[in-house]
């Protein structure tokens, strides 16, 4: 069975600063994908960043980057230069290879960006 754990229910960061959200997972699979999804208040959940487990290089998308540690089964999200629009619930998710769009989600981290 796959499990995803986000140990930080809520975090705050000042605008323009950097914040890191933690995620760990447990799986016996070797091929899989990891995701961070963002859900702004009363809005759709949208994909922030995706990481293929077979790639050693950490994924980056503009101000968002991950620190993927496969051996440690850790997948943290770093948000640089935080903006007010980054305020949202962030979900870490796991997907087995070829099990497309069947996600195992963490419980989420609520991020508040303060002006």
């Amino acid at each position: 069975a796959q499990t995803v754990t986000q140990s930080q229910p809520e975090m705050s960061v000042q605008e323009a600063e950097t914040v890191t959200l933690s995620c760990t997972y447990d799986t016996s699979e070797n091929n899989y994908y990891l995701f961070w999804y963002k859900q702004p208040p009363s809005r759709q959940m949208i994909l922030v960043i995706r990481q293929e487990a077979y790639k050693q290089q950490n994924a980056t998308e503009n101000r968002f980057s991950v620190n993927f540690q496969k051996a440690a089964k850790s997948f943290s999200l770093k948000i640089s230069d935080s903006q007010l629009g980054d305020t949202a619930m962030y979900f870490c998710a796991f997907m087995k290879h070829a099990d497309f769009n069947k996600f195992y989600f963490g419980s989420g981290t609520k991020l508040n960006v303060k002006p």
Binding site: V4, Y33, Y37, Q39, S42, R43, Q44, M45, I46, L47, R50, E52, F91, H97, F100, N101, K102, F103, Y104, F105, G106, S107, G108
Partner: protein, 115 residues
Amino acid sequence: EPEVTQTPSHQVTQMGQEVILRCVPISNHLYFYWYRQILGQKVEFLVSFYNNEISEKSEIFDDQFSVERPDGSNFTLKIRSTKLEDSAMYFCASSPRETVNTEAFFGQGTRLTVV
């Protein structure tokens, strides 16, 4: 930008009643999903649907649940006889295809409250 839309945003129903949650996926998408999140718990996969039939379902998706694409645009989740424990946020998602690089697009969710 195309979005997955869900109606209603909040539904209150009495225990034992039937409820239908509605979703309009993005128009050229072929794969459809329902997830749910009980308050304070993780987002969980319920069912995937393709070519007018269920592709996969979780153990949560028992006989009281059904899905349908009645008219080529809507994708519905029916709960036949609601229980208190069905109270949750229900998310619909859609995807144009199921390959490693495709993204699932989520709706904003329907909060179901069973009283």
